[in-house]
Symmetry: C2
Subunit: 335 residues, 2 copies
Amino acid sequence: MKIIVDAFGGDNAPLEVMKGCRMAVDEYGCEIILSGDSHELYQLSGMYSIPLDGITVSDAKGEIPMDAKPTELLSKYKGCSLENAFQQLAAGNGDALVTAGSTGAALTGGTLIVRRIKGVRRPCIATLLPFTEKGTLLLDCGANAECRPDMLCQFGVMGSVYMQQLMGVETPRVGLVNIGTEESKGTDLQREAYALLKAAPVEFIGNIESRDIPLGACEVAVADGFTGNVVLKLVEGMANFFSAQFKQIMLKNTLTSLCALTMKGGMVELKNKLDSSHYGGAPLLGLRKPVIKAHGNADALAIKNAVRQAISCCEKDMVGQIEQSLAQMGAAEEE
Amino acid sequence: MKIIVDAFGGDNAPLEVMKGCRMAVDEYGCEIILSGDSHELYQLSGMYSIPLDGITVSDAKGEIPMDAKPTELLSKYKGCSLENAFQQLAAGNGDALVTAGSTGAALTGGTLIVRRIKGVRRPCIATLLPFTEKGTLLLDCGANAECRPDMLCQFGVMGSVYMQQLMGVETPRVGLVNIGTEESKGTDLQREAYALLKAAPVEFIGNIESRDIPLGACEVAVADGFTGNVVLKLVEGMANFFSAQFKQIMLKNTLTSLCALTMKGGMVELKNKLDSSHYGGAPLLGLRKPVIKAHGNADALAIKNAVRQAISCCEKDMVGQIEQSLAQMGAAEEE
């Protein structure tokens, strides 16, 4: 198994990325193709004594900034670490790709270099929300601010395959994020997507309200990219809010500070549960090869886990399974 | 000051509603018109020894169920406690209205019986999110699943007036809920609303991401009713999630349970801070008279606080101020 990693993507690149790759090779026995400036990478390897066995460097110059226009990946930043990584993937030199760089650029590279699975309207970004043991996959998290109903339906199918294959959920419950549970709720987009999802080869449980997402009401939460992005970022904001509030309560005075020590284990457990670095990155679904977008502030551990996730996608033939499910749906539609 | 209260709206009506009205009369010296079945209300007053001085009963038969079609307020449920309350308000027999009943029905009554302020495209539901001291007013919270840009702009203006007049925020910062801070982010709706808000007589600070709402990034968070409803319910869901998680951490074993006692005060404070019954109900903005929608599970305290809020809306001439601001905006547009 060869995983291509964008060495210069993310806030902590390239050092943490390289460290994470080292950990992944040691732990999973995979091969890594590290895309980026070879001179800088070899220097880093020497400076920090990070052995490169199992890691091949694919030389690429420069990197795409987080605030660059995504499409500039193919013009102004052609040949950069991320563009080269996608070219390697498209050429079949590796099995999957991991980057902690710009989400927009990764989507551009995925769509235009690696290309979509036949029949997929638009690729999307999926994020696993770790409220329950297996989690809830939220998609789309922002790749498509505007969606058509058939795109939402495909998100449901792709998300269902991911939860089945990657997370071992036998029959993932697919819910449509809406402002009420009745079939008539929402806008035309939700009403039409509802009808399509009802006929799709997934366990569609109907509309779910955002308040029920943290309760684990479904394993796949389908939304347009605008709504999904708002949900994802609000989950993050609320976690920060409560974390600050509880810290304040615990450190109110000497007595509470002492007493808080007894709860440290539980707090760390909760923090880890909610920490994205422990459960990998966000898969871009709908592409011909697995692409994992690690968090922008990914450290070595997060990169290692994103590589593990990429390996799982390959081992479980996620792309093939999505292809099959969509074909099945297409057949059902034609019947 | 006379506040009209729907005696039969909400899960705990009519007893808690009556108790709340009693508390409000005693505490604020206002008059209450209680709309509902007079026979039942007088009986209740006797049975629970709730004196009715300061409270007038306006007889009405029946109530509109929570799952009824909102427009049925004017047909099938004409003459019910809520419809009668709106008729009393429209006739000028009271200054404002409070109900814990169906939001949809309240909007219907507000729009069709009390009517909109001149120039208001659509009334909306606003909710005060209590993350910071003065809170953040989120609007629309679900009255209009689909919005046009000019509606969003009006929400910003009306929200700004509310926070100024009711919450004493001198210059409320108005943010547009979006999936990025750049002006180009979101869909056409957000981009066009952005341009309108920039020219509106409010302190528009641009786009805000949902993750920044709990940090108090703005005092007025503008969204279409779909997005606002998703935000509102997710805030609720996340609060429930964290409350359950922390309970689990605190009650892990005997030692943590004992230690948790030292934090009880802080936890209760946080709970109260987030408890809607302490800060009243959701104002419907854009109507010719103040209408406050209390939470469906409102108890006496929540009703009392909703009455206090209704009184404030009257005292601060919220409706007149909104009218003025909209007129100012209209004038600016014509220039």
